[in-house]
């Protein structure tokens, strides 16, 4: 301190020789030049601006970091108490959330069961509706029609009779038959859902084969009525058939599902 107060104390500062070295004959000239150099002025402005900025930022920063270091004992005890209370609250929250998690996990497995059930139903409905391929035992039924006499009603009769005998799904000449399938056209140029059929008409039907075959041969049934118009019917049972023609799923335009609440 005393050293610093001595007027001739050798200033160890660069800052002191921030001017020209003492005794420099050009010192006064330099002093006169001061203020005339815009570049130097700008540099000084920028540097001091940076210094002020850094100073303010650092002060702010140190405030936050060293607030606790400068706090008194009572304050520290109070802060510690607050933190303890907060920890307790957070722990009880944690326990609540854990319980909720367990509950949700439990209901999740119930949901999974319900989802599985829904999937099974969707598959069954898709098979019936013709939107999913199906396989299983059944029979192939081939209708030959050399004289172009088998008409719309004969085809519909076959489909209805097969359904009545327990057919679950079927396709004819590669066209899946669904709930809303329509048979149109003239004998010899029949169409199912707009797709032309070509004789012989080959039905692939999934269902109990024996029941269906029996149903075809009942007196006055399909086989007899086809043979009456000059056609023939061949039926072959098979333990494994594939019905892989698909129907597009119609999206209801007007009706929407009721949410049920």
């Amino acid at each position: 301190m005393t050293d610093a107060e001595r007027p001739d104390a050798p200033a160890p500062a660069d800052g002191a020789d921030a001017g020209a070295p003492p005794g420099d004959p050009t010192a006064t000239a330099t002093a006169r030049r001061r203020g005339r150099d815009p570049l130097a002025a700008a540099l000084i402005g920028v540097l001091t601006l940076l210094l002020g900025f850094a100073l303010a930022v650092q002060v702010r920063n140190a405030d936050e970091a060293q607030m606790l270091a400068g706090a008194r004992e009572e304050d520290l005890v109070r802060i510690l108490d607050e933190l303890d209370g907060r920890e307790d609250r957070l722990r009880s929250q944690l326990a609540d959330q854990r319980a909720a998690l367990r509950e949700l996990t439990g209901s999740d497995s119930r949901t999974a069961t319900a989802l599985q059930e829904a999937r099974r139903r969707a598959e069954a409905l898709g098979t019936l509706n013709g939107t999913l391929p199906a396989q299983g035992p059944g029979l192939t039924l081939t209708v030959r029609d050399p004289s172009d006499e088998v008409g719309v009603s004969d085809i519909i009769d076959i489909v209805q009779e097969l359904r009545g005998a327990g057919a679950e799904t079927m396709q004819v000449d590669g066209v899946r038959i669904g709930l809303s399938s329509a048979v149109t056209g003239q004998p010899g140029r029949l169409r199912v859902d707009g797709t032309p059929l070509r004789a012989p008409y080959e039905f692939v039907v999934l269902g109990e084969p024996q029941n269906m075959e029996t149903a075809m041969f009942i007196p006055g049934g399909i086989v007899q009525s086809i043979e009456r118009v000059g056609g023939t019917v061949e039926i072959a049972q098979s333990p494994a058939l594939v019905v892989d023609a698909l129907r597009p799923l119609d999206r209801p335009q007007y009706a929407a599902p009721d949410t049920g609440d």
Binding site: A4, A11, G15, G19, I44, L51, G52, F53, Q58
Partner: protein
Amino acid sequence: MIPILGLAAGVLLGLLFDPTVPLWLQPYLPIAVVAALDAVFGGFRARLDGIFDAKVFVISFVSNVVVAALIVFLGDQLGVGAQLSTAVVVVLGIRIFGNAAAIRRHVFRA
């Protein structure tokens, strides 16, 4: 005039934007600020002595900051960062005291 305006504007900007100091800069910023303060005090004293030179001021400012940061960096690498930081702050503080004393003599003639 310019340095005072610059300082004031910098402080205002710093308070206004209140940026977060990046982690890598945190050990160096306080040292750099002290070093720059030393240069500013030195410049002020030189001005009162009538020997102020803008070039010398700018160079001493920048070199002060760089050297201080380098010393701290070196200390960090050697594992004595905290001690070297303290050393730099002590030395710079002594110099600031010396410059402040010289300024005081100029201003108050005492």
